[in-house]
Subunit: 110 residues, 2 copies
């Protein structure tokens, strides 16, 4: 036990779990990544898919995801404006985490 | 795309990812589960291992984890009191999620 503790402590600020959680532990973050998944989604579709999220929170989360390079946003200059979101290469790499959340939920919660 | 959307929407409140996140998306939740891991940990060890967490937040999180049956708590009636935490059978099943977080962090963040 002591050994294991020391290994985890040794990571300190470099702990990979901590680093991932700093990026992904928002209440809605992984849910949004899960819903976009391998799709190209318009804002309205995403809003319907992530049921229960407020407009303000969704916009805030999407901005954060774009800033952190997990999601890319394409704005088409047309009327009405069309905005599409998709996962970046980095964002796609979070899907195995989402898969494990789904598996845990299916087996134990729903 | 539309099909996939409908599949995800169909889960509604039964969405397994949503259910898992309701349980696990706290800022410190998965970090604490990761640190306890397969160990038996005393409160003080846990406090040192989860660097940066406040005493109040750690106690609150541990109570939540015990209430949700992810962690079991054993109090030994001695002086000074000894309190040990370990993952329950359900808690151990979250470790594959933590593993994916670690893998993502190692490959992309740290």
């Amino acid at each position: 036990m002591e050994n294991n503790l020391k290994i985890n402590e040794a990571f300190g600020e470099k702990c990979p779990v901590r680093a991932s959680l700093a990026l992904l532990s928002g209440k809605w973050t992984l849910m949004i990544l899960f819903q976009i998944n391998e799709n190209v989604m318009r804002y309205g579709e995403l809003k319907r898919a992530v049921t229960g999220i407020s407009e303000k929170m969704l916009i805030q989360e999407l901005n954060m995801l774009v800033e952190n390079k997990l999601v890319s946003k394409e704005v088409y200059p047309q009327i009405p404006p069309k905005v599409e979101y998709r996962l970046t290469e980095l964002g796609l790499k979070t899907l195995p985490i989402v898969d494990q959340l789904a598996e845990f939920g299916l087996a134990n919660l729903v």
